[in-house]
């Protein structure tokens, strides 16, 4: 069981570029989440999904898009990257409203 995996681990983007952060879980969890964590701060929910084909906005969705075509994968798309999107991005999954299991994170720097 790999748990929750995220790629890449680190990325530098130029302003205006786009990229996709990958997240995969092998625990057959229905619920998946994307958070961002700014330095010294807590986690803010970007988007979440309660199952394949179902996604919904969290607290800070602007500038991001998601899709959930399979139970395992929940990619996060950044369009037109901005310096304000410099952050650490965590993907998480859970079985219903219980313990969330986090991936190792993707560190993104937008210059």
């Amino acid at each position: 069981n790999a748990g929750v995996t995220q790629t890449p681990k680190f990325r530098i983007l130029k302003i205006g570029q786009s990229m996709t952060l990958q997240c995969t879980q092998d625990m057959n969890h229905n619920y998946m989440y994307w958070y961002r964590q700014d330095p010294g701060m807590g986690l803010k929910l970007i988007y979440y999904s309660v199952g394949a084909g179902i996604t919904d906005k969290g607290e800070v969705p602007n500038g991001y898009n998601v899709s959930r075509s399979t139970t395992e994968d929940f990619p996060l798309r950044l369009e037109l990257a901005a310096p304000s999107q410099t952050s650490v991005y965590f993907c998480a999954s859970s079985y219903s409203s219980e313990t969330q299991y986090f991936g190792p994170g993707t560190r993104l720097l937008v210059l």
């Binding site: 807590g42 986690l43 969330q100």
Partner: protein
């Protein structure tokens, strides 16, 4: 929406001293979870409290849920260097959204 406020933001202790972090909400919580994040790492689930007045222990860690289910605390007895990290409380807003407190960053002088 629902918010959980966590204090203090930072705490520095000598190894062997105790440590406590507090989490407060203006609304009644259905449950509360605690996570630990080591420096450079990802949040790791510690425990979930559900019942009013609930107290749970994990070795040197004691977790409490207030009688009114509006506050919670995490107490660490005799801290060790392995306790270094940021401790977050979190509560579900509705059935799907987990709202995190700002976290308490614990540093320890060995």
């Amino acid at each position: 929406g629902q918010q959980v406020m966590q204090i203090p933001q930072y705490q520095h202790v000598q190894e062997g001293e105790d440590f406590t972090t507090y989490c407060n909400s203006s609304t009644t919580l259905s449950n509360i979870q605690w996570y630990k994040q080591r420096p450079g790492g990802h949040p790791v689930f510690l425990i979930q409290l559900v019942k009013s007045g609930e107290v749970k222990k994990q070795k040197r860690l004691t977790f409490q849920f207030g009688e009114a289910k509006k506050n919670s605390s995490l107490h660490i007895t005799a801290t060790q260097t392995t306790d270094v990290g940021t401790y977050f409380c979190a509560a579900y807003q509705g059935a799907q959204k987990l709202v995190f407190g700002q976290g308490t960053r614990l540093t320890i002088n060995p």
